[in-house]
Symmetry: C2
Subunit: 101 residues, 2 copies
């Protein structure tokens, strides 16, 4: 299916607590209901199979680039990033790319 | 849909050529035909919207963790990693996670 995908991986700070990590997931679950442009949204904790992995990933699919920008700049999303994600993030790397049909 | 997802993002070396980057994509296109366990496979170059992004992402979906391991260890896949991905990779970060239904 064609579209536009946002991929982001996080390494949490060593001092991030279990409660803080759980709060990230709870808050992100608000977003599909708040942002109709989110066509698919799936995040999760690393399964622990491979050494050296990051801790958490988010993959969000949209109809197109403009729909992604709505998500990126959505105030509820920005609040979650500022309030619960940034405080425990050690490293973050992202890619957005076109989904070929 | 439940399942298991592999997410990986790459930053290419500054001296990676356009030809090398194109070869990565051409070779990765072989994999869905070679690995039946690959339920969905979508990779792409960063769209250039956000400063500081990585260069390339791969998202691969599987029925479960065992199917992911088949992909990870598949000889064709390993050859692509060794021959065309590793030589141009400056940074690579991955997460595997369970897809909730």
């Amino acid at each position: 299916m064609s579209g536009f995908r946002h991929v982001v991986v996080f390494r949490w700070r060593d001092d991030a607590t279990a409660e803080q990590k759980k709060t990230v997931e709870e808050r992100l679950r608000e977003l599909p209901g708040a942002i109709p442009e989110l066509r698919a949204y799936a995040f999760g904790r690393d399964a622990g199979i491979n050494a050296g992995n990051f801790d958490f990933a988010v993959v969000a699919d949209f109809a197109d680039r403009d729909a992604y920008l709505v998500y990126r700049d959505n105030p509820t999303h920005r609040a979650i990033v500022d309030e619960v994600i940034n405080p425990i993030t050690a490293e973050r790397h992202a890619v957005q790319y076109v989904l070929e049909p």
